[in-house]
Amino acid sequence: MADVTMRVWRGDAGGGDFEEYTIAQNEGEVVLDVIHRIQATEAPDLACRWNCKAGKCGSCAAEINGKPRLMCMTRMDDLPEGPVTVTPMKTFPIIRDLVTDVSFNFAMAERVPALLPPPMPADGYRMYQEDVERGQEFRKCIECFMCQDVCHVIRDHEENKQYYAGPRFFIRYAELEMHPLDQNDRREYVREEMGLGYCNITKCCTEVCPEHIKITDNAIIALKERVVDATYDPVAWLGRKIRRRTKRTATEAGVQPAP
């Protein structure tokens, strides 16, 4: 097969630029194969994050020709002819080359109030397939964080990150809200603290999800509907009037700690 030219962004937090590598490619290869060949031959210090190389771990997200993709699931022969551009995810700070600092997501994960189930019967819980299926869709998430990367609430607005959990965590909240065993109520918390209202359902997240999770339709819109129900519940409204301030923590928002 003909050689291919890869334009790979190289640099760190201090800046960087594209470097071009012209390299052989073989039938059936994905972008990650070619990046690996560059590492093994020309640039052993080219930083990229990867683990499973099978689309299951979500480590190797990058922007290929400007679009967030998993490098391990993007076949070279599916890309248009000509140089292939590979850049790190834009929404997160650069560590080096294609590797970004995704700690924002782990910080958001720490703020998720855990599942609060009833005590387990001796022979386990009973749940029905139709009741677990909604949550199972969201639990397919491989945490590649491409939905976070593409979400314009934070992609071009670093300042919003402190108020906004992002699509990955909206599906997590939706999963917990729809979990057959959960006894918690995070609706007010997800509206007030996690910035659900900032999402204006442009569906960019759904488009890039490698697991084809219907993030916008099945999680975010459903969550918004539930939150609206809670917000316009007169009892909840009265409660907010009396307390007269924004609730700053999950506990203040009425979410119970996990056992």
Binding site: G28, Q39, A40, P44, N51, K56, C57, A109, A114, R139
Partner: protein
């Protein structure tokens, strides 16, 4: 204590590895109120556990009420060709149902039976449908559940932080570890009263493997260097069904669930060849005709098991023989066909990620076309020798659980028994490490000399100009191990491998690393190579000394199992903790099984 020249942390329990076993151990120690640090060389949630597909084995009896721990124990021992630590197999069979159920308290959502219980599927070597699962992404469900639990407990997790070596106190007890932060290249030390190794496997030393870059045997090697013993290192599982085409994904796993759900193996002539490879040990329980086998899927009392669901070692050897006999596919595999046997809707629901994987990577629609598959290096049964009840190693304060520990699976692991192993023995390691810490018998001091030696060795390649590229050494190692210590072995090839590994040791001492220390994959690989070579030496030595064929160790020159060799493991130790030290390999007798357990094996035949 001397002040550390590096970033320094102190914990009651330090856990190395954030897969299923490490996270489960952390939950246990954290619940006891101890301080817990988890160190992982990747991001949290990316460990190899995430790639497990088919399910987690536990005799809950939700689909076949006759199932119970005794049948599971018997299946595990027979699958392991009786080389298992019987006590581990016993504890595993008894405790896995509770470990599966507790995952649901933490948020897991398994597929359900009609009456709302956890659904269980068929897998090779298990008499009953026993694998709790979520489609074909069970490992993701397990790791995400444990990860979310660990995070909700406020546990400290050091991500992309690679442990280089364990550290002792003056009396030889384990006292912590030295590591480096991959993003910055800075070193970091951890003092801990107890350490749990949960570092997974070694498969990256073979060319065709289902394992990721992480499976470099770090924990196996660190334990050996620290004074622990490794056993059964010759027992490597080659999973029968890895992808063979395109070449770039050769080795990528195709779940056994395809066969559990009705998929069959055919050679290039279209023959369902597994009927020709039923060993005597399994003849009584295996179907004799396609008609009989096909009845079994719907009702296990209507026929005997299809031969495609024999244990993995049997199936992998059969595929290997078919290909070598000239009945392979164009790309050197055999066909795995489910598309002609099940509806497209069924396949997409039960095996969504397999459908996706073949469609996107190979351009094959598995609902209509057969998959081309062949054996791929998948799992090491061998590992650190541990006490069954406590997961304790020979080194005081050091525990090991999951793939890095040896004994549980004997010479061959049954599918589904790995995820259950992680949670059963991860929990036990957490309990025992916590008991040890609370008992006050922790280390006295921290050997800074060991830290400095490890740091010096790690940075040496930067100042060595003109040496070899670590990627070249890794590629050569993988090709050498694949060719000489692969699925079928001979004495001459193994001897050749042993002498080659000495050459590799010298090559590693003379490698060079380009660039800086911050997120430098070439450097990271350079720090992996000593582990890869150390564990490969143990595998080759075990393969040389086990002059028989058993489970995941097949000798062309000794094709039969020997009664004598069935009585011991081969145990490896290394001189004075040096990574390139002299390895000693000795026989270590198996534990004697109590009569009541022996009776289970007899009556279940």
């Amino acid at each position: 204590m001397t002040t550390s020249p590096y970033e320094h942390h102190e914990y009651d329990v330090l856990i190395i590895g954030a897969g299923g076993a490490g996270l489960r151990a952390a939950i246990e120690a954290k619940q006891r109120g101890l301080s817990v640090g988890i160190v992982t060389k990747s991001l949290l949630g990316k460990a190899h556990t995430v790639m497990a597909e088919g399910g987690i084995a536990a005799a809950m009896g939700n689909v076949y009420a006759d199932d119970n721990w005794m049948v599971h124990f018997r299946d595990t021992m027979r699958g392991g060709k009786m080389l298992n630590n019987y006590r581990m197999a016993e504890l595993h069979a008894k405790e896995s149902p509770d470990r599966v159920r507790e995952l649901e308290q933490w948020g897991a959502l398994f597929d359900r039976t009609k009456d709302g219980k956890i659904l269980q599927r068929d897998f090779g070597g298990h008499r009953y449908a026993r694998l709790a699962h979520v489609g074909d992404r069970t490992g993701l469900e397990l790791i995400r559940t444990l990860q979310q639990k660990v995070v909700s407990m406020g546990t400290d997790v050091f991500m992309e932080c690679k442990v280089l070596q364990l550290v002792h106190d003056a009396s030889g007890r384990v006292a912590g570890a030295v590591a480096y932060w991959r993003p910055t290249g800075e070193f970091v030390t951890f003092a801990a009263k107890a350490v749990v190794l949960a570092t997974g496997g070694v498969g990256k030393s073979w060319k065709f493997t289902s394992n990721s870059w992480e499976s470099t045997g770090d924990g196996h090697a660190m334990a050996l260097w620290a004074g622990a013993e490794l056993i059964d290192m010759e027992c490597i599982q080659f999973h029968p069904t890895g992808m063979v085409w395109p070449l770039s994904v050769r080795g990528l796993l195709v779940t056994e669930g395809v066969r559990g759900d009705g998929g069959v193996l055919r050679n290039a002539d279209g023959e369902r060849f597994m009927f020709n490879y039923v060993a005597d040990m399994f003849r009584a329980e295996t179907a004799e005709s396609e008609e009989e086998a096909d009845k079994w899927y719907d009702d296990h009392s209507a026929g005997r098991r299809p031969p495609e669901l024999l244990p993995r070692d049997e199936v992998a050897r059969a595929i290997n023989t078919e290909v070598k006999s000239g009945r392979g596919t164009p790309h050197g595999g055999v066909y795995l066909d489910i598309g002609s046997r099940r509806s497209a809707e069924f396949i997409r629901r039960r095996l969504p990620s397999m459908y996706h994987q073949f469609m996107e990577l190979a351009g094959v629609d598995i609902t209509r076309e057969a998959m081309e598959i062949g054996p791929t290096c998948h799992y090491i049964m061998g590992g650190v020798k541990v006490d069954a009840d406590t997961a304790a190693t020979k080194v005081l304060g050091l525990y090991a659980a999951g793939e890095v520990a040896g004994g549980m699976h004997g010479a061959n692991r049954l599918g589904g028994n790995s995820l259950s192993d992680l949670v059963v023995f991860g929990r036990r390691a957490g309990v025992a490490a916590s008991d040890y810490v609370e008992g006050g018998s922790g280390p006295d001091g921290f050997d800074w000399g060991e830290v400095e030696a490890a740091v010096d060795r790690a940075i040496a390649p930067f100042s060595n100009e003109g040496g070899e590229n670590p990627y070249d050494i890794q590629r050569d190692l993988q090709e050498m191990m694949q060719a000489n210590v692969g699925i079928i072995r001979t004495g001459d090839e193994i001897d050749h491998a042993i002498s080659e590994l000495e050459t590799f040791t010298q090559r590693v001492k003379n490698l060079s690393v380009k660039g800086g220390r911050a997120y430098n994959p070439g450097w990271n690989l350079a720090t992996d190579l000593p582990s890869m070579i150390t564990v490969s030496k143990c595998t080759a030595r075990g393969a040389r000394d086990r002059k028989e064929s058993r489970g995941g160790h097949t000798r062309e020159d000794f094709p039969k199992a020997s009664a004598e060799y069935g009585t011991f493991n081969l145990a490896h130790t290394i001189d004075n903790g040096a990574w390139d030290g002299v390895i000693t390999t000795e026989r270590s007798m198996l534990l004697t099984m109590p009569d009541e357990l022996k009776a289970l094996l007899e009556e279940a035949k």
